[in-house]
Amino acid sequence: MINSTLKALSQQLAAKAISSEELAGLYLDRIEAANPLLNAFITVDRERSLQLARAADAVRARGEAGLLTGVPVAHKDIFCQQGWKTSCGSRMLDNFISPYDAHVIERCAQAGLVTLGRTNMDEFAMGSSTENSWYGPARNPWDRNAIPGGSSGGSAVAVAARLAPAATATDTGGSIRQPASHCGITGLKPTYGVVSRYGMVAFASSLDQGGVMAQTAEDCALMLNTIAGFDERDSTSVERTGEDYTRKLGDSLAGLRVGLPREYFADGLSADVARVVEAAVAELKKLGAEVVDISLPNTELSIPAYYVIAPAEASTNLSRYDGVRYGHRAAEYRDLVDMYERTRAEGFGREVKRRIMVGTYVLSHGYYDAYYLKAQKIRRLVSDDFKAAFESCDVILGPVAPTAAFDLGANADDPLQMYLSDIYTLSVNLAGLPGMSVPAGFAANGRPIGLQIIGNYFDEARMLNVAHRFQQATDWHRRVPAL
């Protein structure tokens, strides 16, 4: 039961082979046993979860159940959920019980999904390892000495260790795709604007996008069906008619043009990852795909552009944490400004402070043109690279990260090294494109490696088609870590 996909669980519930309450209990027992080792969850509230499950069972008893009614999922601790602590991995929000629901949470509740708990993450989603959490690092279930990736590390660990069949997550610079790759699960970051940001704690608003993690592409499609769609309360939510993201899953890949960006297979890519990605491409060729050589010449520039734009937007967004309306307030202070300064010094961790300071500087008087405006121009160049590339291919394939998961603590004192490892994911956020990571193999040391699939704007259904056909031909996504 515990290795079942979301789809299989929904069938078991529909067949009344198990109740939602029993199913939630099964997962909650696993969480209770495994969380001390993995630190995947920040908050678990057994009674509240079981209550939700019983309500779902009642809906089913009345004959009103939908496809996912009663299926349990985990939520990244970045989505505001009424009555639940929504910490965003920060001491600043350690006492914050959300008074309202994020759009994503509302949609999941409407679909009858049962919340299993709130997953660990890098503070305010800033990081690639989940080591920046106020609640301590989450651990990779394949090797507890390895990072699980980040920032959605807790969600990835929960799905990989079968503590939840699916989880919500967010991706600002790779925070869904990279942990999915490092934990051997499937993760999907939609096109910017497909999933409402309402109630999702803001990091960098022109890059942030909510998405999903699960065992399979098919499950990701079902979850995306649940959370996608226009929402008036997010000014950048895209007004489009709804679509069924499962509709192309079974399509043939014959004649599909897959682009391989030269720059993604150059210096810096580890032999392990190169081998796995090349084998995955070979598999897709067997399924009928045609390989096209493409170029994304400004790939390297995505790192400086991102690390100006994201901190600039973060410094603005995080100015709201002032100890006045909610969250942490320092215990002692001399005056108002001292209260702000102490509250923020105590409430934020080192990486968050670093990024706020970078952002404050690049937006400060006299430096705007040299940094922020320059970065936005480079963002255009990076985005134009993709436009040109999609003239000659349907999807782009490549690595997610240069290496498999590194050891816990390996980059802890070297923020720059951590930033450089985001090279293959950042440009997708700068352009606002959809991207996925799909399990594709393992490094020599046994740590998982994902294949990145990048789609054109609003082409999630095709990306999911490629991922699904790949998963029908391979069994990497069925491998489970021994706990």
Binding site: N95, P99, T191, Y192, G193, S206, S235, T236, V238, E239, E300, L301, P304, A305, Y307, V308, S315, S319, D322, V324, R325, Y326, G327, H328, R329, Y333, D335, L336, V337, D338, M339, Y340, E341, R342, R344, A345, F348, K353, R354, I356, M357, V358, T360, S364, A370, Y371, L373, K374, A375, Q376, K377, R379, R380, L381, S383, P415, L416, Y419, A431, G432
Partner: protein
């Protein structure tokens, strides 16, 4: 580029983050490493390139100026560090 002790102190002040005097140089060293990486942008010719602010380049939507939110004042005040009579309390600002 190299941020001085004074630069870092000024940035911390602007960011409203208390950084003690003996931490400033360590923080500054890490910021300088990051800015050295960011400096790579300056070598790129971007003359005539339109800055990209948003992936969809679309204009922001306007809506009717009508009340859409319910009054949840009490729920929102209840989570404030210090509140009284519907007001958020802060240290005295005007003498």
């Amino acid at each position: 580029m190299s941020l001085t002790h004074q630069d870092v102190a000024r940035i911390a002040k602007l960011a409203r983050i208390n950084v003690s005097d003996d931490e400033i140089d360590a923080v500054g060293a890490q910021l300088n490493t990051i800015f050295d990486m960011i400096a790579k942008m300056q070598a790129i010719d971007t003359d005539g390139v339109e800055p990209m602010t948003h992936p969809q380049d679309s204009a922001l939507r306007l809506r009717e100026d009508i009340v859409t939110e319910p009054d949840r004042r009490d729920a929102f005040m209840a989570i404030a560090p210090q509140a009284e009579a519907g007001l958020f309390l802060v240290p005295k600002v005007i003498e």
